[in-house]
């Protein structure tokens, strides 16, 4: 062991010695280590500036009310019962539309991804559907379904199913051919192949679609409630616009923001849990 180490130890000849110099670390080009809680820093700073400007009287309270005014309005709307009602109505709409869209997206993607007949029938139709902006379908759907809840849920479902279908389908058809070959060699039945190879392999794509679908459901909700509704958060904000109540509009925006954050976090948590095998790659 020692004999080996002596031969590997560098022994520079005397002539080279003067050219030898201390190794200096190169300048780091990557941004370096992340600051703790860095993501919250920006929003917190904005909030502080907003509060400071309001307190100093530099903001027109009619255009941008102070943070505490928004908070007070929120509490008032909550205690008199209008805000919980509106939130519930909105959540029910978004939830029903999302559930239908999710189911439709997954079922259609499976049917089209697993059989050539399914692909021939479904894929082209969905691609066409996707080319038409869904919100452009609103007038037609109002004539078909009236301006009740059905039409709103239908529109949200369409907004949701498209990204879920597209991403799940492309993940299904993009399953590594080597794994298909492996499944054949191991003598897997068709059902076992779908359950053990296809579905787990397509899950990452499905989750991309799911997150887009969640975002889409909120977007659809906002648009629908602001043009054709007599209840819900969007309606509340629309009314506030008529009466110039900026604070109420801001309360609505905060609630929308919380919806978006919570649902996205939820999807991420599920994704982390279901795709736990992927974590080992990044860690």
């Amino acid at each position: 062991m020692t004999a080996v180490t002596t031969t590997t130890a560098p022994a520079p000849p005397a002539a080279v010695e003067e050219e030898e110099h201390q190794v200096r670390r190169r300048r780091r080009l990557s941004p370096g280590r992340r600051l703790p809680a860095s993501r919250l820093l920006g929003p917190a700073l904005v909030l502080v500036l907003w509060a400071a400007a309001s307190a100093a009287g530099r903001l027109d309270p009619g255009a941008i009310p102070a943070p505490w005014t928004v908070l007070e309005t929120g509490v008032r709307l909550w205690t008199d019962g209008t805000l919980p009602d509106d939130i519930l109505t909105s959540l029910r709409r978004a939830g029903s539309g999302f559930a239908i869209g999710l189911t439709a997206g997954v079922v259609l993607a499976l049917a089209s991804g697993l059989s050539r007949t399914g692909e021939a029938l479904i894929d082209g139709s969905v691609q066409l559907n996707r080319a038409v902006p869904t919100l452009g379908l609103i007038p037609l759907f109002i004539l078909w379904l009236g301006i009740g809840e059905t039409f709103k849920i239908a529109i949200i479902a369409i907004v949701v199913y498209i990204p879920i279908y597209l991403n799940t389908h492309s993940a299904l058809s993009g399953i590594d051919h080597r794994f298909v070959e492996l499944a054949e060699v191991q003598g897997l039945s068709r059902l076992a192949f779908v359950r053990q190879v296809v579905v787990p392999g397509a899950l990452p794509g499905f989750f991309v679609g799911l997150r887009l679908g969640v975002t889409g459901s909120w977007l659809g909700l906002v648009v629908l409630e602001q043009i054709n509704a007599t209840s819900g958060l969007g309606y509340m904000m629309f009314q506030a616009q008529n009466y110039g109540q900026t604070d109420v509009i801001l309360v609505g925006l905060v609630v929308y923001g919380i919806f978006g954050l919570v649902s996205d976090t939820l999807v991420r948590l599920i994704e982390r849990r279901v795709l736990s095998w992927r974590r080992t790659l990044s860690s």
């Binding site: 080597r178 794994f179 070959e181 492996l182 499944a183 054949e184 060699v185 191991q186 003598g187 897997l188 076992a192 053990q196 190879v197 787990p200 392999g201 899950l203 795709l275 095998w277 992927r278 080992t280 790659l281």
Partner: protein, 248 residues
């Protein structure tokens, strides 16, 4: 060449007039071949010589390839690929058990992992394994099914030289214990001579050389090596010449 000592009864694999072609180019040209049960055969050839095509034909996974001829192979066939092909979303043990059911499957899977030196790694994710470990797991996956025929398509091609030597010893040891027929496709002449009892050279769609390797016999590793390199059209100056092999 030295005759093979074991007289083998029925062939495990039997090819008659096997022909395969891709877009009009004949890759396998009317091949007749018998692989006796329990024999370790290596199939050598240049890249593109059709050796993988032959293996895939025997494995029955050459969908959509034009061809003719008859082919019989045992019921229980396992394949080891060049990549380990472990499903990244399953832990090691479930990967080994892929396509296997029965009450004792799990115990057999553990046993197979132990045999390839991966005992205790049952719950690891494939991404946590090194290249050699992943290939060991792939070997366990093919072993656990107790194959009568093991097909291996350059299984060590992606491993580093040191790991490859260890894997050679492991494969040979596993073969001696379980005695499946083995068809090992490789482009490594040394690997073929070290591992196999019989070496075939595939060239221009035909089996050009069929050589029995007798380790106890009078011929050295170097002589077999030289003979095979010559058949492959590689002129190897020095190392292949008759005389003591570089590493006895």
């Amino acid at each position: 060449m030295a005759p093979h000592t074991e007289q083998l009864t029925r062939p495990a694999v039997r090819l008659r007039g096997l022909t395969r072609s891709f877009e009009g180019r004949t890759v396998l040209d009317d091949i007749d071949l018998d692989l006796p049960a329990g024999q370790f055969t290596a199939l050598l050839g240049h890249s593109g010589s059709g050796k993988s095509t032959l293996l895939r034909a025997v494995a029955g996974i050459d969908h959509g390839v034009a061809g003719s001829g008859t082919l019989t192979a045992p019921e229980k066939v396992s394949v080891v690929f060049q990549d380990s092909r472990l499903l990244p979303w399953r832990r090691v043990l479930p990967n080994v058990l892929l396509g296997l059911d029965g009450a004792d499957a799990e115990e057999r899977g553990r046993q197979a992992l132990f045999e390839v030196g991966l005992g205790g790694r049952e719950r690891a994710w494939p991404s946590e394994l090194s290249g050699g470990e992943a290939q060991r797991a792939a070997l366990a996956r093919s072993l656990v099914r107790e194959p009568e025929l093991l097909l291996a398509d350059e299984p060590f091609g992606a491993l580093d030289a040191l790991t490859r030597i260890k894997m050679h010893a492991l494969l040979r040891e596993l073969w001696e214990r379980h005695r499946p027929s083995v068809l090992l496709v490789t482009h490594d002449v040394d690997e073929a001579v070290v591992l196999a009892d019989r070496v075939l050279v595939l060239s221009r769609g035909r089996i050009e050389v069929d050589l029995m390797v007798d380790r106890e016999g009078p011929h050295s590793h170097g002589e077999y090596r030289a003979r095979l390199l010559q058949a492959l059209g590689v002129t190897d100056t020095g190392a292949g010449a008759p005389g003591p092999p570089l590493r006895p």
